[in-house]
């Protein structure tokens, strides 16, 4: 690669598994001396209860541990390194102050079972975040308990169920557009519902006609994503919610794409009854290599009685408390009250932005996506012509003619120093390439990405083999996934 290009080689140090390292007698930790009388454990615990050596657990020094994990870390792509154009995942910059605030001793070491008067700061943070999320989404009440987006979906659908049960019939099914995230049908199934798929129309949005044919009085709710997973606003959303409400059904919204809407329109104002919000998407809590996330759920008044307990109440004297006495609650969806550390980070982000800042976030997120759309649409086939909001979906149709598929394009992007976009999703677009740049990318970074995508298209037309055998510059090549799944090795074993 010439020096104008973005990615250059750098050494990457090989490192064994922890279990292949270490040496007996090494230590990285010393306890403070025991300050109570020493007794024989055998006098306190029946030897039958005790274990022997832990087979294979390594003994390491502090430097061993530091080097090991530092070396491993250098094998990762990450948002501080560059653009992460993962559609639907909203990989945006994670402000450093969020991390610092979540680590304040008074937050990190607070215990939810302390008496309420000892945890006023934590309760206030949670209540303030609830209020902010309610205002942003246009809803009436919020629970912070769910641990992640899919967990929020389950919570929301359980509330839908409790609502219908309170009216005498839990109803039978949940309608889900065919463009939805896989978690939607999986969550509905765990809540005990049958899933019915609703086809999208030519514009990539809900087909109202098809919807009219399937909706009936046994439908408990529809689960929609808006903007949908194609990045398109459901322009007939008001008609959709009216149709469902007319049949006594509720409307659930997957809030994964809220980053496009802040300050522009509010789900509560277009008829949504319940939605979950991914704090790790729109509200910058870090993805952590796959969690922890957080999936608060916001509801309209009619669903408020069914919120998981406890709910946080603010009293007239300015104090806060947990209320566990909630007779209609769906119960607990997680021990304690959610991923508090994530709540601190999300609130920190909201307060750093304020109303004008959040609106600007959505504006620039949509601007950046449309910029990429306009730069790439001649080389890559747009899946749908409809206007894009925060993300744009192409397909590999033009490259597939040379037998270069979406997966190859994704892998080749690594050689250009980028993380690939979301691929093969949504399922309704064959060879989908789903790009969401987010607002935290500069024009230069977007231009570099566009250049890489255009270069890969040229390669696909002229030298497809180089794309099909990519990546060429990573420390490992494509892993043989089929072999790995046939005889899975899921842990290290001695010998």
């Amino acid at each position: 690669m010439s020096k104008q290009e973005r990615a250059a080689g750098h050494f990457s140090i090989n490192e064994s598994l922890l279990f292949e390292e270490g040496s007996p007698g090494r230590r990285a930790f010393d306890l403070s001396p025991l300050d109570v009388p020493l007794k024989q454990l055998g006098d306190l615990l029946d030897p039958e209860l005790l274990r022997g050596e832990i087979d294979g657990m390594p003994e390491l020094s502090e430097v061993d541990v530091i080097r090991h994990f530092t070396r491993l870390s250098t094998w990762n792509y990450h948002i501080d390194l560059g653009l992460y154009p993962l559609g639907s995942c909203t990989m945006k910059y994670n402000p450093k102050i969020n991390e610092r605030m979540a680590r304040l001793e008074g937050f990190a070491f607070a215990h939810p079972y302390s008496p309420a008067e000892m945890i006023q700061g934590a309760l206030e943070v949670q209540k303030t975040l609830e209020d902010c999320l309610a205002e942003i989404s246009g809803m009436d009440a919020v629970t912070l308990q769910p641990a992640a987006g899919a967990h929020g979906e389950l919570t929301g659908i359980l509330m839908v169920r409790a609502y219908h049960e309170s009216r005498g019939n839990p109803r039978r099914s949940i309608l889900i557009p065919d463009s939805a995230h896989g978690t939607n049908p999986a969550s509905a199934a765990i809540a005990g519902y049958v899933v019915e798929s609703v086809p999208s129309n030519k514009r990539g949005t809900i087909d109202i006609g098809a919807l009219q044919r399937v909706v009936n009085d046994e439908v408990a709710a529809i689960m929609i994503t808006n903007p949908n997973t194609l990045g398109i606003f459901e322009s007939e959303i008001a008609e959709t919610t009216e149709l469902l409400h007319g049949h006594g059904a509720l409307v659930y919204m997957d809030g994964a794409n809220l980053n496009a809407l802040m300050g522009m329109t509010r789900p509560g104002d277009f008829g949504i009854d319940v939605l979950h919000i991914n704090l790790h998407k729109t509200f910058t809590t870090p993805h952590g290599g796959g969690g922890p996330g957080a999936g608060p759920v916001a509801v309209k008044k009619v669903l408020e009685p069914f919120l998981p307990y406890p709910v946080i109440e603010s009293k007239t004297d300015g104090t806060y408390s947990f209320n566990y006495d909630r007779p209609h609650s769906i119960g607990k969806i997680k021990a304690y009250n959610g991923q508090f550390g994530m709540h601190v980070r999300a609130l920190c982000y909201i307060l750093a932005n304020g109303a004008e800042g959040l609106k600007e976030v959505s504006e620039v997120a949509v601007l950046n996506a449309n910029y990429i759309r306009s730069k790439l649409k001649s080389a890559y086939a747009l899946a749908y012509d409809s206007a894009s909001l925060h993300e744009v979906v192409f397909s590999d149709r033009l490259q597939a003619r040379k037998d270069v598929r979406v997966w190859d394009i994704a892998k080749r992007l690594m050689d250009y120093g980028f993380h690939p976009p979301t691929v093969s999703f949504p399922l309704i677009v064959p060879g989908a390439i789903m790009i969401e740049p987010t607002e935290t990318e500069s024009k230069q970074e977007l231009d570099a990405f566009v250049q890489a995508m255009l270069a890969i298209d040229r390669e696909a037309q002229q030298n497809p083999e180089i794309v099909k055998s990519a990546p060429h510059t990573t420390r490992v090549g494509r892993i043989d996934e089929a072999a790995a799944a046939r005889k899975p090795i899921l842990r290290w074993r001695a010998g």
Binding site: L17, A28, L44, R103, G106, G182
Partner: protein, 446 residues
């Protein structure tokens, strides 16, 4: 806004490129009647110094010393400094889920190491990449046992963490699962006679927790043996993962019949701060033969096409993004960063350190119990051996609420176990000094 790089000039250039005059035009797809034509009503934006002050004030309002003797599923253990230094590397905490294995080997290898540690500690064959937490983990374990056995009846010890049982109830109620509770004996352990009476051929699994919610060590291998006699599965729940360093693991017995089928739990004790209840890190471990029924992500070891060792998410055909409503679980995420914390913790502590920490927990708890018995009028309930928690009953009448709130340590158990009256659950770990314990006992004595 300081997190947005593009200046107004950049934006103008980009708009020109797109061929529109303003960003407003890009939102034309949203019907006008649905547009919000005012600013959101949010607190005013704060500068970084203002944020420091805002959160600093609220953090300091939490009196963390008040929790010095509270455990109940969230444990205060010493957290080595190294952990935060390593997980603060952007390479770890700002990375996405490792779907693109070639540029996520760091996360993948670390998760593989987590899976190995959990399997070693629990004595099981395999463990997954982590779950949200212990409570949802237990619910997932029950759903997993329902899938394997195709039976619906579960016998669950009342000594299992009450909030975990509450979460199980929430998950179970629409899936035809019936939960029957098994009481505890005067020694504070699951009542095995009652268990034997209630077991029948319709029972899917028996759930026991050790150490249990009272801090008592359960006879998990006896429970497994009884369950297996009736062809039921045996699920052991672990809230206090540190105990795995010294207690015989539920998966570790010479006799297959006395081994648990699923060990599930919470690994917060391995270097993850209490953080007001989360994020923590759940784990689930099982036997080889059940691996395809496990929920959540799994990392496998494999090779690339040139034969180099590499790690990759595997067996994903179980998961929601492939199987949709037929998936083993709706879980999409794990708790990667917290699992990394636990992995680093275990690497630092090592097998000897883990054993020493366990010894300190047992000995300091024994010291506290002995002091309370000798110096106060409080009764220490339950005679079975304990790890680092115990239950005391106040000699004061239940109605003396004010005194109880202000003066006494630990967690009042009335909400969860009304029959125990004004009992409280106390926890003592290696970080509680003798002086602190003596002060606490003094408080109870006066």
């Amino acid at each position: 806004m300081r997190y947005i790089p593009n200046s107004q000039a950049d934006r103008q250039q980009m708009l020109a490129e797109i061929g529109v005059d303003s960003t407003e035009q890009l939102f034309a797809g949203i019907p006008e009647k649905l547009r919000l034509r005012r600013f959101l009503d949010l607190p005013k934006a704060l500068s970084e110094p203002e944020l420091l002050e805002y959160f600093g004030k609220r953090a300091s309002k939490n009196e963390i010393e008040a929790a010095a003797f509270i455990g109940a599923g969230i444990y205060r253990h010493y957290i080595p400094i190294i952990i935060d230094a390593l997980i603060s590397r952007s390479e770890f905490y700002t990375a996405y889920t490792p779907y693109q294995a070639e540029i996520a080997q760091g996360t993948l290898q670390a998760i593989f190491e987590f899976q190995t540690y959990i399997a070693q500690l629990t004595g099981m064959d395999v463990a997954n990449a982590s779950l949200y937490d212990g409570s949802t983990g237990l619910a997932e374990a029950i759903l997993m046992a329902q899938r394997i056995t195709r039976k619906n009846k579960f016998l669950v010890a009342r000594t299992v963490h009450p909030e975990y049982r509450a979460v199980v109830d929430t998950y179970a109620k629409n899936l035809g699962i019936q939960i029957e509770l098994i009481g505890y004996s005067p020694d504070g352990q699951m009542n095995l006679e009652q268990l034997a009476r209630k077991l029948d051929s319709n029972t899917a699994a028996v759930v026991v927790q050790s150490p249990n919610f009272f801090g008592t060590i359960e006879r998990t291998h006896d429970v497994a043996e009884i369950a297996h006699k009736h062809d039921a599965m045996s699920i052991t729940n672990v809230c206090e993962a540190i105990s795995l360093g010294i207690l015989k693991p539920a998966g570790g017995d010479q006799s297959e019949k006395r081994r648990a089928d699923i060990v599930v739990g919470e690994a917060q004790s391995f270097g993850v701060p209490p953080s007001f209840g989360g994020p923590h890190v759940g784990f689930i471990a099982t036997r080889e033969k059940y691996v395809r029924q496990m929920p959540g992500r799994l990392v496998g070891m494999g090779k690339d096409f040139s034969g180099r060792r590499g790690f990759v998410l595997t067996l994903s055909t179980r998961e929601q993004h492939i199987r949709r409503e037929k998936a083993t679980s709706n879980i999409c995420t794990n708790q990667s960063l917290c699992a990394l914390m636990a992995t680093i913790y275990l690497a630092i502590i090592g097998p000897k350190g883990l054993r020493e920490i366990c010894e300190h927990n047992v000995l300091k708890t024994d010291y506290a119990v002995t002091q309370i018995r000798e110096r106060t009028k409080f009764h220490v309930l339950f005679s079975a051996p304990r790890f680092n928690e115990f239950v005391v009953q106040s000699p004061l009448p239940l109605s003396d609420d004010r005194r109880a709130r202000e003066g006494f340590p630990g967690l009042p158990l009335r909400r969860f176990y009304p029959e125990l009256g004004n009992a409280r659950l106390l926890c003592v770990t290696e970080i509680n000094s003798r002086e602190q314990i003596d002060r606490m006992v003094q408080g109870l004595a006066s």
